[in-house]
């Protein structure tokens, strides 16, 4: 099967530091692909390269075989690549209703509509309602996002990516910082995504990874280290060494 998203020899240097080194990834359509690795391995750099926040020093990014290496972020979103951020990136002054309405309007190509009032379009409001129900944001939907509890903000962070109706969704540690008892809510929404949505998950929590992923790539010092099915990766002595090594380092 042809990969949906593919990188070929992706390099990213920050001055003398190599954050990504010859990263060649293939993500199959509908995959639940996990990208793991110790802190500072370059996982977020890879997501930033894939979404156009950073430009690679060398290499290519292909979406359905089309070269998107030089497309700006917003055009990649229109082609169906959306992401969440490891640290919430939300609009503090907007309410969840407005936040989701904004993303949906953009996707429907109404974003530069400067005359109609937000909310006059039932297709937008229907989608807002659907997402608010799905992510259980109803009780806080009229509040400023900036004052919401962290768990709600985290849900909105993911809901906002899903409002872009992505074909490929990049989740950068979706459960990061969420208390244990709220994690389940977040993971349940991720697991409930339609099967044709391809997901690349960055995560630290091994339980999450092994319950969710059908394929795992391990990134160490900016390079792809091992790739395979979860049990293959779990058995790999080199992976164990890396993770044990990290534990010993503290």
């Amino acid at each position: 099967m042809a990969p949906v998203l593919e990188t070929r020899g992706l390099d990213k240097h920050f001055g003398g530091i190599v954050a990504a080194n010859e990263v060649s990834l293939k993500i199959e359509k509908g995959a639940r692909h996990a990208l793991i690795g110790p802190n500072g391995a370059g996982k977020t750099t890879v997501v930033n390269l894939l979404t156009g926040v950073l430009r690679p020093t060398a290499g290519k990014i292909l979406l359905d075989g089309e070269d998107i290496t030089n497309l700006p972020s917003h055009e990649r979103v229109r082609l169906g690549v959306a992401r969440t951020f490891q640290i919430n990136q939300l609009f503090a002054d907007l309410t969840p209703i407005e936040t989701l309405g904004l993303a949906i309007s953009e996707r429907l190509g109404r974003g530069h509509d400067w005359w109609r009032i937000v909310g006059s379009d039932p297709s937008v409001t229907n989608e807002i309602v659907e997402l608010i129900e799905r992510f259980r944001l109803g009780d806080v939907m009229r509040e400023r996002t900036g004052i919401l509890p962290y768990g709600k903000q985290r849900l909105l962070e993911i809901a906002l990516a899903i409002a872009c109706k992505p074909r490929v969704l990049l989740l950068d540690e979706p459960a990061a910082g969420v208390p244990e008892d709220e994690r389940h809510d977040i993971l349940a929404t991720v697991e409930a995504l339609p099967k044709d949505v391809t997901v690349l998950l960055i995560e630290h929590d091994m339980d999450i990874i092994f319950s969710f992923a059908d394929r795992i790539s391990v990134l160490v010092n900016g390079s792809l280290f091992v790739e395979g099915e979860p049990d293959e990766v779990a058995r790999d002595p080199r992976v164990k060494a890396v993770y044990l090594g990290e534990t010993f380092d503290g």
Binding site: T51, G52, V53, P72, S73, H74, E75, V77, R78, A82, R83, F85, Q89, L90, F91, A92, D93, L94, T95, I97, E98, T99, G101, L102, A103, S105, E106, R107, R110, G111, H112, D113, W114, W115, R116, I117, V118, G119, S120, T125, N126, I128, V129, I132, E133, G138, D139, M141, R142, L160, A161, A163, C164
Partner: protein, 352 residues
């Protein structure tokens, strides 16, 4: 509890009503414009200063569009004000366009065109870069007006401007009665358009960009083009404000490009508050009336008091002022929701 349909439908109604309410004119707003219109009959001897307040208000409104909604700071917004003023003055003086309302639109379009071209300079960089770039553009335009003194009058200003009657009928009188009605109508029309724009999906995307440009791009917003668009619109508004001044005074001068004017409009907007459109109008009213009162008191040192007030406002913080006003807005909200014919059906927050 009142009878409710299924929860999904109820939620849909709530979301829709939230969005609709967001766009509805509140009673306070209506009262504001009723008073503004009434001022024409209430204060006939004050029409000259009221005209000036309208023009400052429109100019500050134009700055609010970029500063309050898109987060673009400018120290050279007078570039477009001066441009509009000279455009309107020259169009009238040389008889190129005799109808003032048409000349007003043309002056606005010209300022918008220059705004469009220079917008690319303010896209990148920090606030400091933007301050300097906008300041520089105002200097350049002011100096161009100075340089072509054979048509602009240079440092003496553009004299001998004769404004024809509005719509071929209403002569601008020396007491400023017609001028005030003209300025007020233009202000109202442009305000309504701006109000609509900031509540549209486009306006919402500007607020998103101001809040978080990184995430805005990540939900598919073409950040740079949105900024170009609002900067262009804002320049057009500033140009119309300048044109109004030139037409009502039958004069344009290099001062209209000056840094003092750019900083005054910033001051006005900060007095009134950014990001709600009325800030510019209320700021202009307070600023101009204070200026009037204080300069009667101490003709030379009135800026001392303005400075003091500015510092007090910034230190106290607008949030606190907002809290003082909270009872008033709450009352207005209740009046808006009051439906005498459906007893106690006002929507209340649902129980947790």
């Amino acid at each position: 509890m009142p009878l409710v349909p299924d929860p999904g439908r109820r939620l849909a109604l709530e979301v829709t009503s939230f969005l609709v309410r967001r766009a509805r004119w509140s009673p306070l707003e209506l009262a504001f414009w009723v008073i503004a219109a009434a001022s024409f009959w209430l204060f006939p001897q004050k029409h000259l200063i009221l005209t000036e307040i309208c023009i400052w208000g429109l100019f500050a409104l134009s700055l609010d569009l970029i500063l309050g909604y898109a987060g673009i700071i400018s120290l050279g917004h007078a570039a477009f004000f001066g441009l509009g003023a000279y455009a309107a003055g020259l169009l009238a003086k040389y008889g190129w366009i005799n109808e003032p309302t048409v000349a007003l639109v043309v002056a606005g379009l010209l300022a918008a065109a220059v705004g469009f071209v220079t917008s690319f300079l303010v896209l990148r960089g920090s606030d400091l870069t933007r301050l300097m770039v906008t300041f520089g553009v105002a200097l350049i335009l002011g100096e161009i007006a100075n340089k072509f003194s054979d048509i602009t009058g240079g440092a003496d200003g553009l004299q001998g401007v004769e404004i024809k009657p509005l719509l071929g009928w209403f002569e601008l009188d020396i007491f400023g009665h017609v001028g005030y009605a003209y300025a007020l109508v233009v202000l109202f029309v442009l305000f309504v358009i701006a109000r609509r724009v900031v509540r549209s999906p486009f306006g919402l995307s500007l607020q998103a960009i101001r809040g978080n440009p990184l995430r805005s791009a990540a939900v598919g917003i073409a950040v740079n083009w949105r900024l170009v668009a609002i900067y262009t619109l804002s320049a057009g508004y500033a140009g119309i404000a300048g044109a109004l001044l030139a037409q009502t005074q039958a004069f344009a001068s290099l001062e209209m490009f000056s840094i003092e004017r750019s900083s005054d409009v910033l001051l006005i907007l900060i007095i009134g508050g950014t990001g709600w459109l009325y800030g510019g109008l209320i700021g202009a009213l307070i600023y101009r009336l204070l200026q009037d009162q204080l300069s009667e008191l101490t003709a030379r040192y009135w800026q001392f008091w303005i400075g003091l007030i500015l510092v007090a406002i910034v230190i106290t913080g607008r949030d606190r002022v907002g809290r003082w006003l909270a009872p008033v807005t709450r009352l207005a909200d209740e009046i808006a929701r009051w439906r005498p014919w459906t007893a106690r059906a006002a929507p209340t927050r649902e129980a947790p």
